[in-house]
Symmetry: C2
Subunit: 146 residues, 2 copies
DNA sequence: TACAAACCCTATAGTTACTATAGAGTCAAG
DNA sequence: CTTGACTCTATAGTAACTATAGGGTTTGTA
């Protein structure tokens, strides 16, 4: 049972270019090729790609996934590392949530500052954004996926 | 009162390279130069950079900040756009929080699956990551700042 | 005056996880 | 034999920086 990259893409809910990208990054092994140089995938590839996509849906980085795949490929190892990795990931998510909640409080405070003046010059929001004595870093990075 | 880029960096809690980057991106106007070709900044630059950094600390994108700066530079305009932009940003943050909370529930569920087997082969977590019928996209992008 | 440390300059490449584009080859149906 | 859907490689772009290379300037001090 050998399928081409487009079918693999459909089965995994993942774009063709992304599959090629994972191959380049070493997450997916290089598949066999057809006479016309098309990639041919088998069961193992399908399952591995689904594993990767599931991890990605849990917002793991490719480097975390690489680590999990490495553990999976050596099944005799202690599974403590799997737990450790997952635990660290959960903590990251928790930190991100609390940073975002704090951020939201600031934004909502700021929203209250518009006096309804109708002119940019007098808008309390822009003034609120100008006067700041906090020199900290941004709480979080990046935007929600489109 | 003219200060050099290093002093501006200290005052704004922002790295030197980042200031140059903002200049290249058109967020900061090109400053005067000294005889030795060093950038020389005045009050207006300092205030503008602080505005930018405050917006960044609220996780706004450079493009959102560009829009706010544009409004600030034309103070006679209606301030409704400022409110709209802020409102949209708050909604983005809210969406991101709820996506992350859902994500966390999945991760915590997964954590429970390790049976304490001590071998990767039998680890319920890796098995849980392999069997997935959800072909959806990742809920969020990127990691918390380091 | 000589020298070093601290500062500054430009230009380029790397980061993450893809996405988009260009230009070409392969395969099945009509 | 041509059309269309599919595939191939290689390269550049995205966001907001960070890192590096290779040099010039200023300031303090011996």
């Amino acid at each position: 049972m050998e399928i081409r990259i487009g079918d693999l893409a459909k089965r995994s809910g993942c774009e063709v270019v992304t599959i090629r990208y994972y191959e380049k990054e070493g997450l997916l092994p290089k598949p066999a090729r057809s006479g016309g140089n098309f990639r041919l995938y088998g069961e193992a590839h399908i399952e591995r790609l689904q594993f990767i996509r599931h991890c990605r849906s849990l917002d793991m980085t490719l480097s975390e996934i690489r680590a999990l795949l490495g553990l999976r490929d050596n099944p005799m190892q202690d599974c403590g590392e799997v737990n450790t990795l997952l635990e660290a990931h959960i903590q990251q998510v928790e930190m991100r949530v609390s940073a975002l909640l704090q951020l939201k409080r600031h934004l909502v405070d700021l929203r209250e500052k518009c006096s309804g003046s109708r002119s940019v010059e007098a808008c309390g929001i822009l003034q609120g954004l100008g006067n700041c004595n906090c020199h900290g870093e941004s709480a979080t990075k990046s935007q929600t996926s489109g």
